[in-house]
């Protein structure tokens, strides 16, 4: 397989070759490192690359496999970790300068689980400062560039994770999602990103943004690869007080079942109001394809659903201010213009308003549960607008404190951070100028298997995986 094909191979393609000894984890890791060396100057996907450490891990994996110790599909697979996830003995910056010397003294639970599964930690991916932003900009370390068009953003906050996966710099990545930070970057880079159910994947050792809205999850090139990663990283963790004590299924179990009989809900409200026409056309075409493949599609009235994003903001902003209280008072000048403005403007929110938002969240969850009782998944666009350019998202001290796209990008994704339900973004087509369009499939709590099944069924029918960004 030529290097370019290796760079864009899925876990399903790579794992059998690694298990059989046909492909060495060392060669796969070296291929990732070579791509990083060649393309990182254009993409700016990483804050740190663990060249020596990754190769050492790969050699260890090679030795284990050759002596009969193959651990499963993640063994020997390269993973980029968003740089808010601790890796023992390395710095976790959170995309900030305040934490530029923040040495991790132990692995995050998700890091430990990936290492135990034999994955190769290739480096720390770039992110929006403290994961607080939708545009994928970071004035301290620069924006990550979109492999489909280097002048466009990758969205945020997991922009480096998305850029690395879409650019073939790593097979997989981990991101985090408080208002859409896994799914927005996945949508605009033509990759798959799964926000698992809240509590499904441990947050221990991951920098907080908003305790009750933070989710950690996989970002990959295929839906099946998300499932493989979920098998490695899911489960109860006593280090995370919100970790759920729920049975962990085999997340790959539904991947080959297709769409026959899957009940798809299409909201009549909000998600298709005032969105870009090309995005609407692509997502509706996707739903038609799902129906042709056997899904049972029905429209659902949910006139209250736009409140979901507002509740998400009403909860996550006061929590973020609380997380940042000390730093904001001591080092305000070290924050970027946009993040500082959002935190300072939210600092006055009274406790009663925060509690009201949490009560409204229970109201919203009950409404959503009732409205979706007779469907398995909801299908919606991931983001409402076409991918802005980096230039359009730069903020200036004497101009807008917030980029105009910031408040638009997350209006759909935030709904499912409020409910905590699993939510997947995957590619469903391209704009006329060649940018990926994301479709979001969201399901019932702890039913990632059905969400992944629906996503894999669509992906197989749509046949979009062979299209690669120009940078490939």
């Amino acid at each position: 397989m030529p290097d370019n094909d290796l760079a864009y191979a899925s876990i399903d393609e790579l794992a059998p070759r690694i298990e059989s000894g046909d492909l060495s984890p060392v060669d796969l890791t070296q291929a990732s490192l070579d791509r990083i060396e060649a393309l990182e100057p254009q993409l700016n996907a990483f804050l740190e690359v663990f060249s020596e450490g990754a190769l050492a891990q790969a050699r260890e994996a090679e030795a284990e496999i050759s002596s009969g110790g193959y651990k499963g599909p993640m063994h020997g697979i390269t993973v980029a970790l968003k740089d808010l996830i601790d890796v023992e003995g390395t710095v976790t910056t959170g995309g900030s300068t305040i934490l530029k010397d923040n040495m991790a003294t132990s692995d995050a639970t998700i890091t430990r689980l990936l290492k135990e599964a034999g994955a190769i930690i290739i480096g720390k991916a770039a992110l929006v400062e403290f994961a607080m932003g939708a545009t994928g900009m970071n004035p301290h370390y620069g924006a990550s560039h979109n492999p489909w068009n280097l002048e466009r953003i990758c969205c945020g906050s997991s922009m480096g994770s998305a850029s690395a996966v879409a650019g073939g710099l790593a097979v997989t990545a981990i991101g985090s999602d408080t208002g859409g930070s896994i799914r927005m970057p996945a949508a605009v880079t033509g990759t798959a990103g799964l926000k698992p159910t809240y509590g499904r994947v441990s947050r221990a050792g991951v920098l907080d943004l908003s305790w009750s809205c933070d989710h950690v999850g996989p970002m990959t090139r295929t839906v099946a690869d998300c499932a493989h990663m979920m098998n490695a990283i899911s489960g109860r963790d006593s280090r995370d007080p919100a970790s759920a004590d729920q049975p962990v299924p085999d997340f790959t179990s539904g991947l080959k079942q297709g769409l026959q009989g899957v009940r798809v809900g299409v909201p009549l409200d909000f998600f298709y109001d005032d969105i870009d026409p090309e995005i609407e056309t692509a997502v509706r075409a996707g739903i038609t394809l799902m129906e042709r493949e056997g899904a049972i599609v029905r429209e659902i009235s949910m006139p209250w659903v736009s409140q979901g994003r507002k509740i998400n903001v009403g909860v996550n902003r006061p929590e973020a201010v609380s997380v940042h209280e000390e730093w904001l008072a001591r080092y305000p000048e070290q924050y970027s213009i946009e993040v500082r403005a959002r935190l300072e403007a939210a600092s006055y929110i009274p406790a009663t308003e925060y509690i009201r938002a949490q009560r409204a969240r229970r109201w919203f969850i009950e409404k959503m549960t009732e409205a979706t009782r007779d469907v398995d998944v909801l299908v919606t666009p991931t983001v409402p607008i076409q991918t802005p350019t980096i230039e359009e998202c730069i903020v200036h001290p004497d101009g807008n404190l917030i980029a105009p796209a910031t408040n638009l990008l997350g209006i759909f994704t935030g709904v499912f951070d409020t409910t905590g339900e699993p939510s997947l973004s995957l590619n469903c087509g391209f704009t006329e100028d060649g940018m990926p369009i994301g479709m979001m499939i969201s399901g019932k709590p702890f039913d990632e298997v059905t969400v992944l099944r629906a996503g894999a069924g669509f992906e197989a029918a749509a046949g979009l995986l062979d299209r690669r960004p120009p940078i490939a």
């Binding site: 403007a345 949490q358 229970r362 807008n400």
Partner: protein, 67 residues
Amino acid sequence: MPEPSRESSLEDRKRDAARAGLNLSDERVAELMGRFDEVDATLAAIRGIDVKAFEPHAVFAPRPAGD
């Protein structure tokens, strides 16, 4: 530049921020007035929801469907 706040004075906002532990200058508060308004709009929308029947769950945990 951001629009001036419709609802509160600069002094009100400065006092609010000080209560939250932030020592913001008049200029900084003036810069942020439009952002304060956006936060206000979000809170006002949530205030429109009848939450009397619902308890807050600061540590929030969804339950499987049907549970």
